[in-house]
Symmetry: C2
Subunit: 158 residues, 2 copies
């Protein structure tokens, strides 16, 4: 047993997928060379960043999902925005538990979406990663059920 599953999940989170040109060609009834040309154009223009898998996260030990709303302490960015964006925020983005990082307008500075196996693992993440940055205030909003993720409907009843 080689535990290839874990390696696949890691690779599929970033990419290692590709369009199904022949299937698309049949679907919209165009020659596959035409489909190919148009896909390459989208890639060249940077409109497509990657092709990747969408998981049933409960089944890959990432069933616990939390939105974290954060106010960074004013000292962290008021006099050095570039440090704020390049060090602090992209430091957060690096971690595998982090699905998304947004810099926000309005009452909150950042919104993170975090996926872990369970509450314990989430607690560890907060301690080891989030608490390292100077935070004025933060709240964790826990997802009970995800009906749609990344534009993909999650089937009910499982």
């Amino acid at each position: 047993m080689k535990n290839i599953k874990a390696k696949l999940i890691k690779l599929f989170k970033e990419g290692y997928c590709t369009p199904q040109i022949a299937r698309i060609a049949k679907k919209i009834n165009e020659p596959s060379a035409t489909i190919h040309y148009n896909i390459k154009k989208l890639e060249r223009d940077g409109a497509i960043k990657t092709y990747k898998a969408v998981f049933d996260y409960k089944k890959i030990e990432e069933g616990f999902c939390v939105y974290v709303l954060i106010n960074v302490s004013p000292s962290e960015y008021e006099y050095d925005w570039s440090r704020y964006e390049s060090k602090i925020v992209s430091e957060l983005a690096k971690h595998k538990e982090v699905e998304s990082v947004d810099i926000m307008a309005g009452d909150w500075d950042l919104i993170l979406k975090i996926r872990t196996k369970d509450q314990d693992e989430y607690y560890d993440f907060l301690r080891e990663v989030v608490s390292r940055i100077a935070i004025q205030k933060s709240i964790s909003l826990i997802s009970l059920k995800q009906l749609k993720t990344n534009f993909v409907l999650m089937k009910q009843h499982e």
Copy 2:
């Protein structure tokens, strides 16, 4: 000109992609028949829902991104949860502008992530979709910059 671009984007939001078995096989140095077997197992087990593209949303007319926190009116679910989940929430999930829908624990009932071209299109979405459900309170948190989305780092400087 056949405007194939728009059709491709629509298809790639849901799927129409597939793993690159040969590339993965080289990457982790295993036979491609083994990779194939393990991928099919992940699919059979339901761990992988689909393979799809991740976009640079600014380049596909979806540059405006908002998180909407919603409190549904008590009347909507207190005496009929199944109506709440099956009608109201999955009605929201249907729309193409909706990237994700989560049913939450705690202060808020729902979090939506919405992508539109601009503020005007977002306003239309609020009017035509969100305002149709009985809402007690809702706030819109506007994303200024996305550093990571769906586990994919967005390249800076563009």
